[in-house]
Amino acid sequence: MAGVAGGNDFQWCFSQVKGAIDEDVAEADIISTVEFNHSGELLATGDKGGRVVIFQHEQECKNRPNLRGEYNVYSTFQSHEPEFDYLKSLEIEEKINKIRWLPQQNSAHFLLSTNDKTIKLWKIGERDKRAEGYNLKDEDGRLRDPFRITSLRVPVLMPMDLMVEASPRRVFANAHTYHINSISVNSDHQTYLSADDLRINLWHLEITDRSFNIVDIKPANMEELTEVITAAECHPNQCNVFVYSSSKGTIRLCDMRTAALCDSHTKFFEEPEDPSSRSFFSEIISSISDVKFSHSGRYMMTRDYLSVKVWDLNMENRPVETYQVHEYLRSKLCSLYENDCIFDKFECCWNGSDSAIMTGSYNNFFRMFDRNTRKDITLEASRESSKPRATLKPRKVSTGGKRKKDEISVDSLDFNKKILHTAWHPKENVIAVAATNNLYIFQDKIN
C-alpha cells in the first residue's frame, strides 16, 4: 500500500459527510463509535443517544469507474435506551461505547453493541420477499373465521421492496458492576470479551445468562485502588490470547490457557517514565485510552494522551515505535485539565496492511503515520474542504516563534472539535472519521 503522506500515488480526498450541518449540535447525535465490518462493505456508527446507524457501500457506478461507490444509510435502529438502576440509584447512559462486527457467516450481518452496562447482539438482515396467500388470515392481517375456510392453499413468496431489519438476538446484561469500556470478538467466532474498569468477562455468543470472569483487579479494599482497566482486545488469530491496558500506561498480555483467572499476566509491557518530564499530570497523560492489535497479530498499538506507540509483542520493556500526535499540548496541560479535555479518550487504528496508523486530535485534525517512511501528515475534517473529490490539504500547527502562512497556532485550536473515533477500511484506502456529530469519509484518489 502506498505511503500516507503525499508521495507518489497517494492523496486523500473528500468523499462524503454524514450528519446535520447545524452549528447547534444535539448531545444525542454525537458519534461515540465507528467501525467497519470485516469486508468493509458496511460501516457502523453509534451515538450518545443510543442509536446505531449502518452505512452500506454501494457498488461502483458503471459510468464513472474511477470513483468508488458511496456509503449510504443501510439501517438505523435504537440499540440502547437510558435506564435507571433503582437498587444502586444510578442512571445508566444509553451512549454506545463500542460496536464490534462479527465475521459474516450467512446472508445476515451480526454486530455487538454495548453501553456502560449491557451488551446486545443485533442481527441485521434483509427481507426482499413476502409470503402471500395465508390460510388463516387475510392479506391485511385480519384473522379469518376458521369455519369459513373451505379450501387450503400454499402461501407464495412474492417480491417486495428491500427492507433491512435489525433485531436484537441476545442481550448480555447484569455482568458488569463498573462501566464497560471495551468489547472484542474472539478469533474462534464463538466467544467475546467485555471489559469494565476493574474486570474482564468472557462470554459465549449463544449464552446470555452467564459469563466467565477472567480478569479481576478490584482490590480487597477499594481504598487501595491504584489503577483501572482502560481497554481490552482479543488477539486476531490466537484465540487464547488477549491484552488489556491500564490507566497507569501498562499493557498486560494474558493467555487463557494458563489459568481460569488471568490476574497474573503472561507479558507485561511498560515503558519506563522519563523523570525529567514529570508533572502534575503525568499519571493522566500516561493513561492508555485504546489498544489495538495489528492485523498480523505481531504488533499492538496503544494510544495515550499525547502519543501513539507501537509495541512488538516480543519486546516488553519499550515500544518499537513512538509517534507524537500533538506534543505542542504538553505545555497546555493545565488548561486542558481545567476544561476536562485531558480526559478525552482518543482511539487509534491500523490500515489493512499494518503499514500505517491513524488517530485523532483537536480542531477536527487527525493524524496519519507511515511506519515505513516515518512520514506523518495532519489532515482536517471540515465542511470547508468538503467539495467532492477535493484533495485534503495537509495542516500544520505552529509550535512557537513565527507562525507561517497556513499554519494554525496552538492557541487558536478549537478544543471542542475533537476527533476521538476513526476507522480504516480493512482492505482499501478508505477512512471514516467522526467529528462530533458528523461522519466524514475520505478515500485516496485513484490515479
Binding site: 444502586k88 477499594m222 502534575f280
Partner: protein, 307 residues
C-alpha cells in the same frame, strides 16, 4: 521532582480545581466515573505534595531563623562580647542552608543541641511504631503528646466510638458510608485522620486500638516525598512535625494514592486541615484557594459513595 514551573497555575488552584471536579462528578449522568476520579485524585496528590513541600520549606526556613536568633540571644546574654560577632556572621549561613552542616559557626553548632533538646522534650514514640512498615502498624500506636504538631501519622487506629462521641472531633471525624456495588454491603469508613485534634484527643484511647485496615497512605507519601526531595531537612527538626514516617520510607509504596473514598467522604475539609494549621503557625494572610472552594461547595460530613 515535579516540575512546577511548567505552568502558571499553582498547586493551590489545582487542588481546588480537582476538588471541584470530584464534587461535580457526583451529579454527573451515568454515575461516578471511576477512571476519571482516579486520575483526578492523582493530580490532587501531586499538587498537595508540591504544596506541602513548599510550605514545609517555608516553615523550616522561618523556624530555623527564629531558633538561631533565640540561641544567639541566649549566648549573647551569657557572653555578649565574644559571640556577638560570630552570630552576626554566621546567622545568614545558618538560616540560609540546612544549618547543621556548618559546624564552624557557633550558632549552627548549637543548633543540633537545641533541636535535640526540643526533641527530647517531646514524647518519642516507641521505636516499634516508627520502624514497622505501614502495613503492619495497627496496635502499636505512638504516644505523642505534642498537640500543636501534626501527629496523625502515628495514631493509625481510632476506635470508632471514641471518635464519634468526642465533642472536639464531631466536627472533624467525618464518616463516609460506602456502598460496595458488587456485594451491596454498606460499610462506614472513618477518616478523621487528617485532623490533629482528633488524634491528640484520642491519645488515651488509641493505645492498643485496633481498626480494620484503614490506612492513611496519603500522609505518608507526602512526608516521604519531602525526605526524598528536600534533603536539607534535618530529621531531628522534622520530628517536631511528624515523627514516625521517615524510618518507614523504604517500606511504603509511593505509588498508592490518596484513596477516593477518603476524598469523597471527608467533605473535603480533611484535605485542607493541615493547610489551616500551617496557616496558623505561620500567621499567614490570605485565603487558601481550597478553603474558598470548600465554602462554595458546602460541607459534606457524611456522604454515600458507591464504588
Amino acid at each position: 521532582m515535579i516540575n512546577t514551573t511548567e505552568c502558571a497555575v499553582d498547586a493551590q488552584s489545582l487542588i481546588s480545581i480537582s476538588l471541584r471536579k470530584i464534587h461535580n462528578s457526583r451529579t454527573q449522568r451515568g454515575g461516578i466515573k471511576l477512571h476519571k476520579n482516579l486520575l483526578v485524585s492523582y493530580v490532587l496528590r501531586n499538587a498537595r505534595q508540591v504544596y506541602m513541600n513548599e510550605k514545609y520549606a517555608e516553615i523550616y526556613r522561618m523556624q530555623q531563623y527564629e531558633e538561631v536568633m533565640t540561641v544567639c540571644n541566649e549566648i549573647q546574654e551569657l557572653n555578649p562580647l565574644d559571640l556577638a560577632e560570630d552570630c552576626e556572621e554566621q546567622r545568614g549561613d545558618c538560616c540560609g542552608n540546612g544549618g547543621v552542616s556548618e559546624p564552624a559557626s557557633l550558632c549552627c553548632a548549637l543548633l543540633p543541641v537545641s533541636q535535640l533538646v526540643a526533641v527530647q522534650s517531646a514524647h518519642m514514640q516507641p521505636p516499634s511504631a516508627c520502624s514497622a512498615p505501614l502495613s503492619l502498624q495497627s496496635d502499636e500506636v505512638c504516644k505523642e503528646t505534642e498537640p500543636s504538631f501534626y501527629q496523625s501519622c502515628c495514631a493509625e487506629a481510632y476506635p470508632v466510638s471514641n471518635c464519634e462521641f468526642s465533642p472536639v472531633n464531631n466536627l472533624h471525624c467525618n464518616k463516609t458510608t460506602v456502598l460496595d456495588l458488587d456485594t451491596h454491603v454498606v460499610t462506614t469508613v472513618e477518616n478523621g485522620y487528617l485532623h490533629q485534634d482528633c488524634c491528640a484527643s484520642l491519645q488515651q484511647c488509641c493505645q492498643g486500638a485496633q481498626y480494620s485496615g484503614k490506612k492513611r497512605k496519603v500522609d505518608f507519601e507526602y512526608y516521604i516525598s519531602d525526605i526524598e526531595e528536600v534533603p536539607d531537612f534535618t530529621p531531628c527538626k522534622r520530628a517536631k512535625f511528624e515523627d514516625c514516617s521517615y524510618a518507614n520510607s523504604e517500606h511504603l509504596d509511593t505509588s498508592n494514592i490518596s484513596n477516593l473514598i477518603s476524598i469523597f467522604g471527608s467533605g473535603f475539609s480533611g484535605l485542607v486541615s493541615r493547610q489551616a494549621d500551617i496557616e496558623q503557625a505561620l500567621a499567614l494572610n490570605g485565603q487558601f484557594c481550597s478553603k474558598q472552594a470548600l465554602s462554595s461547595l458546602g460541607a459534606m460530613t457524611r456522604a454515600i459513595v458507591a464504588f
